[in-house]
Amino acid sequence: MTIITLSHGTAIILFCIGLYTIISKRNLFKTVIGLSLMESSVLLLIVAAGFVQGGRPPILPIEGIAVNPLPHAFTLTAIVIGASDLALALAFVIKLHQRYKTVDLDKIRGLRG
C-alpha cells in the first residue's frame, strides 16, 4: 500500500467520520467539529492529488521533480473558505446559545412542520 492510497483512504474515512459526527452528536459544537473534519478530509484528498513520487516543493530552484503546485493553491483557498464557514457557524452557535440557553441540537427545533 503506497502512501498515496493510504492518504486517500484516510480522507474518505475522515469524511465518513465527519458526517457521522454531525448525525450522531447532539452538541452543536461537535456538529461544527464534524464540519471541520469533513473539510479537512476533502482538503487532504485535494493535496494528495498533487503528490508525485519523490517530488520537491514547487519553489524554484527545484532539484529534481516538483509536486503538482495547483492543489496547493486550491487547498489554500479552500482552507480560508472553510475557516470562514466555521467562524460563521460558531458565531451562529453563540447567538443561538444566547436565545435557547442550550447547545443541544435536538432542542433547537423551533422551526418545523
Binding site: 457521522y20 524554484l60 503546485p69 480560508v80 464557514d85
Partner: protein, 249 residues
C-alpha cells in the same frame, strides 16, 4: 440492543456505504505520477511568466488571482457578518490581564512576531508564505494582546474602526491593483503583461504585482481575523460580567 444504539449502527453503516462509493471512485482512477493539465505549464514557465519563484504564489496571485479575490471576499463576508451579528453587544472590560512577568515577556516577543509576519507577507513570492499566512500571524499578535493585557488594551490601541479601515482598504487595494491590468488592456489582475516590473527572478523585488497583492491580502486578513476574535470576545465578556442580580437591557 436499544433503539438508539441500533440507529447509531445503521447511520454509521450508511456513512460507510457512502465512503465505499467514494472509495470505488478512487480505485478506478489509477494514480498518475506525471503532472497533467495546466500544472505542467506552471512548473515549467511560472518563473519567467510571473517573476515569482514560489509557484504556488504565482498560481494564487497571478494565474488564478480571481480565486484569491473570491477567497478574500469570503473572509470579508464572514467578518462583516460576524461583526453584524455582534454589533449590538456592548464591550466591557473585565480582565486586567496576566502577571507582570508575562506582560514584559510578551512585549519582548511582539516586535519579533510582527517582523516575522511582515517577512511572511513580503517574501510570499520567493518563499513559502504569503498574505494569508502572514496576516494570520499578525492577527495572532493582536489576540496575544488581548490574552496578556486584558481585552481593554487592544480596544484602546487599535480601534475597531481602524481595523475596518485597514480591512476595506486592503480589499480595495487588491481590486485597484487588478484594475491597472484592465487599464493597460492586458486583462484584470494581469501581472507582467500589465507593465508591472518583473524584476530579477529570485530577488526580493521581483514578481511584479504579486508582493503588492500579498500586502493587500495581508492587511485584509490580519484586520479581519482580529475583528472576528474581538467580536466574539465582546459577547463572552458580556456573558461573564452579567451579575445575576442586575437586569440588563
Amino acid at each position: 440492543m436499544s433503539k438508539s444504539c441500533f440507529l447509531r449502527i445503521v447511520t454509521f453503516l450508511l456513512c460507510l456505504a457512502l465512503g465505499w462509493q467514494f472509495w470505488k471512485g478512487i480505485l478506478a482512477l489509477e494514480p498518475t505520477q506525471i503532472i497533467i493539465g495546466p500544472a505542467a505549464h506552471y512548473i515549467e514557465s511560472a518563473a519567467e511568466e510571473t517573476g515569482a519563484t514560489n509557484i504556488v504564489a504565482a498560481i494564487l496571485f497571478d494565474y488564478r488571482a480571481l480565486d484569491t479575490l473570491g477567497e478574500a471576499s469570503v473572509i470579508y463576508t464572514s467578518v462583516c457578518g460576524i461583526a453584524m451579528l455582534f454589533a449590538k453587544s456592548k464591550f466591557k472590560i473585565s480582565s486586567t490581564g496576566l502577571s507582570f512577568i508575562v506582560k514584559r515577556g510578551v512585549s519582548f516577543i511582539i516586535p519579533f512576531l510582527l517582523l516575522y509576519a511582515a517577512g511572511i507577507v513580503l517574501m510570499g513570492h520567493i518563499s513559502p508564505g504569503g498574505g494569508f499566512q502572514g496576516g494570520a500571524v499578525f492577527a495572532t499578535a493582536t489576540i496575544l494582546f488581548c490574552i496578556v493585557y486584558g481585552s481593554g488594551f487592544e480596544a484602546v490601541m487599535i480601534k475597531p474602526k481602524t481595523k475596518e479601515l485597514i480591512e476595506s482598504s486592503g480589499a480595495l487595494m487588491f481590486v485597484l491593483i487588478g484594475f491597472v491590468g484592465l487599464w493597460t488592456g492586458a486583462g484584470f489582475l494581469a501581472n507582467i503583461a500589465a507593465g508591472y516590473p518583473k524584476g530579477e527572478v529570485g530577488r526580493f523585488l521581483s514578481g511584479g504585482s504579486i508582493p503588492l497583492l500579498n500586502i493587500a491580502v495581508g492587511m485584509k486578513v490580519s484586520a479581519g481575523l482580529s475583528t472576528i476574535f474581538y467580536s466574539m470576545i465582546k459577547l463572552l465578556e458580556f456573558e461573564v460580567t452579567k451579575h445575576p442580580g442586575v437586569k440588563n437591557k
